[in-house]
Symmetry: C2
Subunit: 653 residues, 2 copies
Amino acid sequence: MGTADHVDPYYSGATAGHRVEIPPRQPFSTSLKNTLKETFFPDDPLRQFKNQPPRRRLLLGLQYVFPIIEWGRHYTLGFFKADLIAGITIASLAIPQGISYAKLANLPPILGLYSSFVPPLIYAIMGSSRDLAVGTVAVASLLTAAMLGEVVDPQQDPQLYLHLAFTATFFAGLFEAAMGIFRLGFIVDFLSHATIVGFMAGAATVVILQQLKGVLGLEHFTHKTDVIDVLHSIFTQTHEWRWESALLGFVFLFYLLISKYFSKKRPNLFWVSAMAPLTSVILGSILVYLTHAEKHGVQVIGHLKKGINPPSFMDLNFDSRYLPTAIKTGIITGIISMAEGMAVGRSFAMFKNYHIDGNKEMIAFGMMNIVGSCTSCYLTTGPFSRSAVNFNAGCKTAVSNIVMAVAVMATLLFLTPLFHYTPLVVLAAIIVAAMLGLIDYEAAMHLWHVDKFDFLVCMAAYVGVVFGSIQIGLMLAIGLSIIRVLLFVARPRTLVLGNLPGSKEYRNIDHYEKAQSIPGVLILEIDAPIYFANSNYLRERIIRWIDEEEERIKASGEAGLQYVVLDMSAVGNIDTSGISMMDEIKKIIDRRGLKLVVVNPVAEVMKKLDKSKFLETLGQEWIFLTIGEAVGACNYMLHTCKPQDSEKYSNNV
Amino acid sequence: MGTADHVDPYYSGATAGHRVEIPPRQPFSTSLKNTLKETFFPDDPLRQFKNQPPRRRLLLGLQYVFPIIEWGRHYTLGFFKADLIAGITIASLAIPQGISYAKLANLPPILGLYSSFVPPLIYAIMGSSRDLAVGTVAVASLLTAAMLGEVVDPQQDPQLYLHLAFTATFFAGLFEAAMGIFRLGFIVDFLSHATIVGFMAGAATVVILQQLKGVLGLEHFTHKTDVIDVLHSIFTQTHEWRWESALLGFVFLFYLLISKYFSKKRPNLFWVSAMAPLTSVILGSILVYLTHAEKHGVQVIGHLKKGINPPSFMDLNFDSRYLPTAIKTGIITGIISMAEGMAVGRSFAMFKNYHIDGNKEMIAFGMMNIVGSCTSCYLTTGPFSRSAVNFNAGCKTAVSNIVMAVAVMATLLFLTPLFHYTPLVVLAAIIVAAMLGLIDYEAAMHLWHVDKFDFLVCMAAYVGVVFGSIQIGLMLAIGLSIIRVLLFVARPRTLVLGNLPGSKEYRNIDHYEKAQSIPGVLILEIDAPIYFANSNYLRERIIRWIDEEEERIKASGEAGLQYVVLDMSAVGNIDTSGISMMDEIKKIIDRRGLKLVVVNPVAEVMKKLDKSKFLETLGQEWIFLTIGEAVGACNYMLHTCKPQDSEKYSNNV
């Protein structure tokens, strides 16, 4: 790094006499209101209500809660044709998937169908996505089984287990709706992309491992989900493996994967893969019916009750012995499935260029689960796979959900006996095929490539889920993500700036090789808010920069260091610990016979420096709007006055 | 806000053709090494070892661990005279305070003397502060009593209780030393100034309330520390109040406070207040001896064993039943007392302009407590009150600690019988007088004045300690502090910038009233790293800025919006969620027929934007070094080409 020969003349007029202003004082109530607004209402949802007559406000309000009122008015026959095709397509996927996931949650298979009937109707009325297809999801199903299974055995007390599942769903809905109403949507944001990639892949691995029970036809199986317990359970029971079952399973898995592969190659063949689960179920059922394989170790679904959802309002169980488990299960499964649904809705909205209000969506998800829990449904959200099929099938509005619900209703009323001979192993194959799509190793590679820490978070979630439990994996990943944010604040970067030759700009000398330092002036930039968590570090680090600069100068025989310029443009905020740090830095720099110069504090920082009297200590004349100006002033002093004159000079500005 | 008439000509040469560079690629190992170094070795402690012969390195290494080797060589008789006076002064404070605090911890009073003998000697050898006076502290003593009292009753099983206190001290030392060795000193930084002010005031309130037992001469007292339980315990036993005891207590309290007041008014009278506790003890003991008040409800210390510290190495109790409590107590009391000691050491070092190495200090504190736990001492640190007396008495080096230790040793060997008649109520008065100094309501007012959130944190700590427990208050305050950091990252400010007339600078239009917006160009600044926690928010917020700007333009009939300039100077880092957000923003802006322009990404951000191919998507020609240049380019396009030409143009740059 060289030193610039050309320096700007002092006060070159670059900023035409502008100075850093102390921002106009706001009453505390105003700034509190602004902060609360930005924290909880960043999307300003009430803007459209402004300056409207009461009648119009009522309509807008109703539209806000029930978006169907808005889009329903413009609904056309053309839309309906598209929605009809999409709705039938997703129904053909929803029926076998619903039954499979209900089995995964250790719930009666019929619940999977119930859950594809009522919740989609609620969502069609309240939801704001046009592409989301509502249904149950594998991860939340497994999580329900794992968490409720800790207090109630689903085999020994299926009634109680079922009621707790409804109760957990009720609390999940309540929690989701509350988050929407209290505008706490940003809690979901703490599940980062990296966390979700790792967590989903881990959960998919765990779900696939669980399916080995069905594929191998095992009767006994571990209740734990970690890979070691599962593999131990499988390989200690090799004598119970059923080859008929395994063969059937792998044949159907192959069929499902090959159809998926074709659909991926040719997007207009999406229906091949969308219909594959239903055709698997039909083929499997016919095969078992003809060969009586159910008597040779191939387990089947058995009897399914005819008729639509019975009410389950009275089944909600608020017994204090089980309440903590139900609430905990509800909150965790609710937040995870909601995160998936929100991400899915947002992606498709982006694709089709319409807007989704996150908090409104949460209320819709919440209501759908609250109503669901009273009508024999368990946790539903907007699963990615089903929504993607819906989108590819050309859905136009949430009417495709209504079509799906009607198709499922027809199934419930008339077709349930047909599922009697459906082999469980086909359901397992359907789950495995769906889960393989969740293991997104390309995304993980991308993380590794772009951001190593994100990759670490992702792997922590994966390893935690696979070797520990779903909860452990999630905790690990969220914990690491938060530690990352805290570390960013605890260890901000301080950069040494230099002049870009021939310009008035100053940039990091590590980034811009051409940037040149100014003799006698050390220019530092802090790129984070100055908070209690980093004020000690920053003091040490700044002193170390000064030490190193002085050593360098001593070694090179240049003119001694006179000024330390602190560029605060990137310091977004400061707290009282930070202000104490600034005071200390000022004292230390003074005691070394140097001069502290501050550049461009933002409004918030300027306000606090003023209130805490730091401005008086520093002297307002030592605050400059740009680095160029500050350096100009320093050079003027260096070349015209002796250091001890600087006090005198500064009083005259 | 008006609009600037004068605009800079395109490429005015302000940056002489400099462009934002993609920083030179570093191997992963280098960047990992740098990150680890900045995280764990920000002070670069090994710098002095570089380029030194092995012999010199050994000496430097020994000096690093035992700073006495360094300063001991320059020790003079003049220093010793000063240290002698200071040492005797702090000994006269240490003896009564030690006994009082040991009573507060429900430990035998003699432990207070033991703890002022061995630990100061260890600190004198290993510590790097010249002003710290070592001893026990009230808050940690009370905390020990509260935490150990939950599992062992000090009245029923004093032996076990004592051994657990040693064990907790051992773990406190181990934890402190480990934090120093593993360079985790920054954990202490998460105790913000505001937290400490609130916590200390709360703890002092609680300690004072506890003293009412001694002052009123009550026999029975609650084990809880919250204000409601304590007041209930006091006012349900009004019949047991002893007026003799209370009178004595208030007289001595008055004496102590008045002497403190005088010393504050005249700093050269520091010894009046420093000697006051010892004179109180002497006067009180003589009074009791003469009046036989111990037979009229004035409790006295009673018999104190003669002789120096017996070894307690064999008393450490690692029984698994008590181990978790011992470890927890050790860690919490260790970290809190260490935070006090570090802050005290740092303040005086700043005052006298010498440097303290935080991690080294932690090792010294840790060793002092490990050795202390094996020699019948309980938790010690550098208390503020005692160190302030040491400083005022003119201490020069840690030799004053040695003098104090020798004085305490003499007391232990010869003078313990003199404390037989010392009334407990005098000890209570000494504690109350010391604690009143910890309630720093001026600091709290300062917090309110400068930073409302810091005040909230402070009050949370206070209320939590006083109405809940010490642990609850601490958790509350640390939790709030961390939430504040997370909220800062989750809800960064986005600022609209405008041109300062007559200059090339752009500043926040809310801060600088003169700043003028540029027609057709919206300039936004983001002032935080773009992370998973804020990427959703930022997308919403940026879109809302664009919406609002378009509405404003529509209302005012100006030329339509064409460019969105994003100033990323203050974005210190970005993760993969943030990059996805940038991609989305780009798509949304494109779809609206606008153009995204990015200004001045820092090295770290530029690197990741490059790796993730965002630079290709955006087009490198849309990245500018300064806002002025970006606006110049936008204006050039606005005035010379039609919008649809911009693609063509940008390819030619």
